[in-house]
């Protein structure tokens, strides 16, 4: 019966959740508005849009945030008219709504205490309200005049009589919370003529087995009148938390007379009808199936899990040392379970990148219109998942690259037409999984990067020695060089105080890589490769002499066995082998890192792939799959080439994790530079059957 006592502590505790939810709703609003620009009449989107605003308003009201409630109400009213089809969403209106959304965001931020709203912001809001009403036409002005409190049958005089079909199931606590379904039904009667009211008493227990204070009632009914969806939903505002309401509009001629196909049935078998409606009732709390977890708690679990994986590997090793079958089996089982837990836990951190991509709709829209360009943004593979921390940290570099593409890559409509292209520019953000990493591509069909200009600029700045002629790819790579000032270069990759070198550094800090491809006149592609996660990988453990190395298993394609001296390498450990008729550059770890120890009788070449490059790694021994917890290399070892980190093996030894793309460079350097590469013709034998041909992972 209480529950209305407002407890300050409760509010203080619940406010952060509200803020976070409201921010999400704002993101949702923006996203939906931008989607609606492509299909302005999509009813589902409009409904979702309305719900976002309604949720913000509703919960802001709960927290007594009057500014948010008041302002959002205007937005909500307009959105309601939009979804009722009384208004059309014009681009101008969309712009106003986007601005309103920004204001709501600011107000919510103010509620959080981030900043306080000042006089100019309230003036700005009043102006927006005026524009909203102007956009909504006179009817909305009447509605606004009628004030928020009296939203009832009087609102929206222009609406024609409609018929709503409701299926309501009240929550068990309804009575205890001081609510009475009869009163709510009476309120609905005030909104229009009620018909076909059926009380579903199927759930009411017999006297012996029920709690009389638990509400077990459900209703189906039809309501005829001018009420809007919002009006009807408002009737349930006070019981919303534990009540499921299904509301659908009955269209067509059946609005005045009860539908003869269905209603006799409903009248005579209320239970049967109720069953049906219960079955189709969407669990109102669909969204409550998510649990919000603080990110640092999750991180703590993942750290512990890393320790567990290492400890588990150590225990397995000890168990193997005892040569006791059951003990080894038990450890095997534990290892498998730990691996499952690892996969599951890392999955918890995975989020689709689509949300991040969707933010760029606004960036593209605003930047393009500010530049007077017509650009359409395509998003491909938004459901590609990657680690949340990666998603967060990739947003800034992406923003920079997108702005660059808009600013400098894509031309104006006139320029495009003059160049014989479609007037509307196209920017594509895509993401997909590719051999253990995520490939994010930003591609535009703009003017591309002029290699000659880049090269001239680089020479001018002394980045390229006068006599040197870099390859095309190397020229493009110059734009990522720290000294490459682009202020006057044609590409003008200027951005906002962040250069392309910073973009590359940020991405490399995430163990990722960035490359650019460009065709003059046709556009550019910028490829960002990121690891799926920062914490733990499936590794492939190999040995050279007494040293151990880890190759990311996802990069391993196959393993071929080679005879001693079958691969002749130069002093730097670089050579080539023939693999099924093609040349494969090979790196010998023994020679590259000057490792001690006698060469074994047989050695293996692990063929690794990264992007579309392949190379071989010559090693002594293969130890198979290994759960690898990545530990970053200390500052002292930053200069080492070819490593991305280290890990601790079960026996306490340290193994270095090889960075496959850096190895490529080492291997590729050999084929490019050595004028007489130590060619050899001995065909590499296929290794043991399990390793032959196809990929291992």
């Amino acid at each position: 019966m209480t529950g209305h006592d407002i407890d300050d502590d409760f509010i203080a505790q619940a406010l952060p959740a509200f803020i976070s939810e409201a921010k999400e709703q704002c993101d949702g609003l923006e996203h939906l508005l931008l989607q609606l620009e492509d299909s302005p009449a999509d009813r589902e989107l409009l409904d979702a849009l309305f719900r976002c605003a309604h949720t913000v308003k509703g919960s802001a009201g709960l927290f007594g945030l009057d500014e948010v409630t008041g302002f959002t109400h205007h937005v909500e009213s307009l959105l309601d008219r939009l979804r009722e089809g009384q208004l059309r969403l014009t681009p101008a209106l969309s712009t106003v709504l986007l601005q309103c959304n920004d204001e709501i965001r600011l107000l919510v931020a103010a509620a959080e205490g981030e900043q306080s709203p000042d006089a100019t912001s309230s003036a700005r809001r009043s102006e927006l309200v005026v524009r909203l009403q102007a956009g909504a036409g006179p009817a909305d002005a009447i509605e606004t005049g009628a004030k928020a409190g009296s939203r009832g049958a009087t609102a929206e005089p222009s609406a024609t009589a409609r018929c709503w079909r409701l299926a309501v199931r009240f929550g068990a606590d309804t009575f205890r919370n001081g609510m009475d379904p009869a009163a709510i039904l009476d309120y609905l009667r005030g909104l229009g003529r009620m018909s076909a009211l059926v009380c579903d008493t199927a759930a009411v227990p017999a006297l012996e087995d029920g709690d009389p204070e638990s509400c077990q009632l459900g209703f189906t009914l039809e309501l005829h009148g001018p009420a809007s969806r919002e009006n009807v939903e408002a009737a349930f505002d006070f019981v919303r938390d534990d009540c499921s309401v299904q509301l659908e509009e009955v269209v067509g001629t059946a609005t005045t007379a009860p539908n003869t196909n269905e209603d006799p049935d409903a009248d005579s078998h209320p239970a049967a009808h109720a069953e049906k409606s219960v079955a189709t009732a969407p669990a109102k709390g669909d969204d409550t199936r998510f649990i919000r977890v603080q990110a640092d708690r999750l991180d703590a679990v993942i750290n512990l899990l890393g320790e567990l994986v290492t400890a588990c590997a150590g225990a397995s090793l000890l168990a193997r040392g005892t040569r006791k079958g059951p003990l080894i089996d038990a450890h095997q089982q534990i290892s498998e379970l730990v691996e499952d837990v690892r996969t599951g836990t890392l999955q918890l951190r995975m989020v689709p990148i689509g949300e991040t991509f969707a933010r760029f709709r606004r960036v593209v829209r605003d930047t393009a219109s500010a530049l007077g360009k017509d650009v359409v943004l395509d998003i491909v593979g938004g459901d590609t998942e990657l680690d949340k921390s990666l998603v967060e940290r990739i947003a800034d570099p992406l923003t920079h690259l997108v702005r660059n593409a808009l600013d400098h890559g894509l031309e104006t409509a006139q320029q495009r037409e003059a160049a014989g292209k479609h007037a509307q520019g196209r920017l594509t953000l895509s993401a997909r999984h590719e051999s253990g990493s995520v490939l994010i591509r930003i591609s535009d069909d703009g003017r591309g990067i002029r290699r000659d200009k880049v090269l001239a600029r680089a020479r001018q700045q002394g980045l390229v020695a006068p006599g040197q002629t870099p390859t095309d790819d190397e020229v493009l790579d110059l734009i990522f060089r720290p000294g490459f000032s682009t202020a006057e270069a044609v590409t003008q990759l200027s951005g906002r105080g962040v250069g392309m070198d910073v973009v590359r550094r940020n991405i490399e800090a995430l163990r990722g890589s960035v490359t650019v491809h460009s065709e003059p006149g046709r556009g550019s592609n910028i490829d960002i490769r990121l690891p799926l996660t920062l914490a733990i990988i499936d590794g492939f453990l190999v040995g050279v002499g007494r040293s151990r190395f880890i190759l990311p298993l996802d990069n391993v394609e196959e393993v071929i066995e080679s005879r001693p001296n079958a691969v002749a390498c130069d002093a730097n450990g670089r050579g080539v082998v023939e693999l099924r008729g093609a040349m494969l550059p090979v790196v010998s770890l023994r020679q590259l890192y000057a490792l001690d120890g006698p060469e074994p009788a047989r050695s293996s070449v692990v063929v690794v792939q990264s992007g579309n490059l392949r190379c071989g790694v010559l090693v002594d021994a293969l130890y198979g799959q290994h759960q690898t917890v990545i530990k970053p290399l200390g500052r002292m070892f930053r200069m080492l080439r070819g490593f991305s980190g280290s890990t601790i093996l079960g026996n306490g030894e340290v193994a270095l994790i090889l960075d496959v793309s850096a190895l490529h460079q080492l291997a590729a350097d050999s084929s490019a530079r050595a004028s007489h590469p130590p060619l050899l013709t001995a065909p590499a034998e296929q290794a043991t059957p399990e390793y032959s041909e196809g990929p291992i992972a």
Partner: protein, 100 residues
């Protein structure tokens, strides 16, 4: 047999207590081969919880092969029942009486 007389207040505030009394009463009427009869003339205030309690009673009665008979239902009770769309069963024929 004397009908059970409902109290003036048939609301959420009294349903727990009333349920206990109805349970005790139902034990005595269970063995009699006749409809369970409840006198609702005194009800001055009713709400959905009260009505639901009567629905529970009806369910118990029909579990015993009997029906619930509501005599002289007061306007306060019928108003709520009608608001809830309950016009059949014990709430059917208004202030007189009816058989489910």
């Amino acid at each position: 047999m004397t009908p059970f007389a409902l109290p003036p207040e048939l609301t959420i505030h009294g349903v727990d207590d009333l349920r206990q009394r109805l349970l005790a009463w139902s034990v005595t009427v269970r063995d009699l081969d006749e409809a369970w009869c409840v006198d609702a003339s005194a009800v001055a205030e009713a709400d959905s919880a009260g009505v639901q309690l009567l629905l529970s009673l009806e369910r118990s009665a029909s579990a015993c092969g009997q029906s619930l008979r509501l005599t002289s239902a007061s306007p306060a009770l019928t108003t709520v029942a009608e608001a809830l769309g309950l016009t059949a069963g014990p709430f059917g024929a208004g202030p007189t009486e009816s058989i489910a």
